[in-house]
Amino acid sequence: METATPTSGTPVGSPTIPATATATPLPNGTLTGKVLAGKPVTVSLYSGNTLVTSVSADQNGDFSLTAPAGLYTVVATASGFLSAQGSANLIGGSTSTKPTIDLLAGDIDANNVIDQFDAMTIGMNYNSATPSAADLNNDGVINVLDLELLAANYRETGPLVWEISYP
């Protein structure tokens, strides 16, 4: 008895593509916005759980990402801060802009909650420079200024909701 054996990498039941056909790439869309944090910010686009692209925001928090048109999850992260997450619908040939968002300082261990263990990390590393995630104001030393920042956001949880963008 014969059994169908799918070709590796090709979904079963996929139509046969003529050898002369060329795939037309989807037009790119652009996503811009501003993420405010006291430390360097990375903005990433995900399709499902797959990272599509990421970029570092500039010193003002401004970023611009380009990717094929489609619906994505956009995530903004900064070391020691609660991340922000939202959706982004990129339309080919046009630019969408996410609303400006402030990341909250204090999630030093990156477990999506600003809690006692984050505060204790500051206390255990007082007057030192590492771990850098505990240096919330990015001044090179972990001290009361970082604890002040954390205290302002104590008990907050993430990821922060980043509103839907409109083209």
Partner: protein, 321 residues
């Protein structure tokens, strides 16, 4: 016969050793108190105890209490090097955390927690959660595994007979304030609401008249509120208090500002504080400005007493009005 005796002795010895090892490895946290009977206005003292075979670099506890019966005052730890971490409190929960830069032995008292007995009542305090912490290889605080929370509940009887208000004790160790947030009054009856409403209307009318007269007389807005003060906590001029006699008050590195802060991370004209509608506001003028950890960018934000303002990387002050 000798071999049987030797076997029994060896068995007993092994059992004793196992039991001892078990006792030493039993990491635990529990509450104790010397007495469970107090009078109104007395200080209720609860001890948070902990044992760990591994030296610790931090501990945390969250104690549930009835805010109608008790008011938390502070916690004190006498473990050398263990420093209090002041964090915002919740009504009904005394939330304490301590940390040390070096490992410390935990074998007994971690901290004493003080409450004020408010009135005659029967009440329980409950150790809602607690942990001992170590510093892991990456430098982050991590819980000591396997810590058992014993004796979570203590029952107290507070006599309605009040003693004279006690003067604050002189405490030795690292003191952690546990001041609860201000709460709305409990169960206000209808006539009290009406009375309060009349009072508010009267005050609003008086304020309106005052403001109106002040405006027509050409006074600056905000002159009816007390003079605010900036208490410099960190950075240039740390420890100094600035009374804001003149508003708006400009803050920056340039000497022409009302408050000049010589800090490379502060721009020439960094921020200003101004009065409007009987309140105070801080406006960022293009520098790096945070109020209670939140960024302020080229905009105005209301200031309230106790707000922590950071300018640049190091200048930190507390606003008071």
């Amino acid at each position: 016969m000798k071999s049987i005796s030797a076997f029994v002795l060896a068995l007993v010895f092994t059992l004793v050793m196992v039991m001892n090892v078990g006792a030493q490895s039993a990491e635990s946290i529990w509450l104790t108190t010397n007495t469970t009977s107090y009078k109104t206005n007395e200080t209720v003292i609860i001890t948070v105890n902990g044992v760990s075979a591994t030296p610790i670099q931090g501990f945390t506890f969250q104690i549930r209490y009835d805010p109608a019966c008790l008011r938390p005052v502070n916690a004190v730890s006498t473990i050398p090097g263990m420093n209090a971490l002041p964090l915002p409190q919740l009504a009904g929960q005394a939330d304490g955390s301590y940390a040390s830069t070096t490992p410390q032995t935990a074998n007994g008292v971690l901290a004493e927690v003080r409450f004020l007995a408010l009135k005659g009542c029967q009440t329980n305090v409950i150790l809602e959660s607690a942990a001992l912490a170590i510093r892991n290889e990456s430098g982050f605080a991590a819980p000591v595994p396997g810590v058992v929370v014993d004796q979570k509940n203590l029952a107290f009887t507070i006599d309605k007979v009040a003693v004279a208000a006690q003067s604050p004790e002189t405490l030795t160790g690292s003191v952690l304030p546990l001041t609860p947030p201000e709460e709305a009054g409990p169960n206000i009856s209808g006539w009290m609401i009406a009375l309060a409403a009349m009072l508010v209307i009267g005050l609003a009318f008086a304020a309106f008249k005052l403001f109106h007269i002040g405006s027509t007389a050409g006074s600056k807005p905000g002159t009816s509120v007390p003079q605010p003060v900036l208490q410099m906590k960190h950075g240039p001029n740390a420890g100094a208090n600035f009374q804001l006699n003149k508003l708006p008050c400009f803050i920056g590195r340039h000497p022409m500002n009302e408050i000049c802060l010589d800090d490379p991370h502060i721009i020439d004209q960094h921020a200003k504080i101004f009065a409007q509608d009987n309140g105070y506001y801080l406006m960022d003028l293009g520098g790096e400005t945070f109020i209670n950890g939140r960024v302020v960018r080229r905009s105005s934000t209301p200031l309230k007493s106790g707000d922590v303002v950071r300018l640049g990387k190091s200048a930190l002050f507390v606003f008071g009005s």
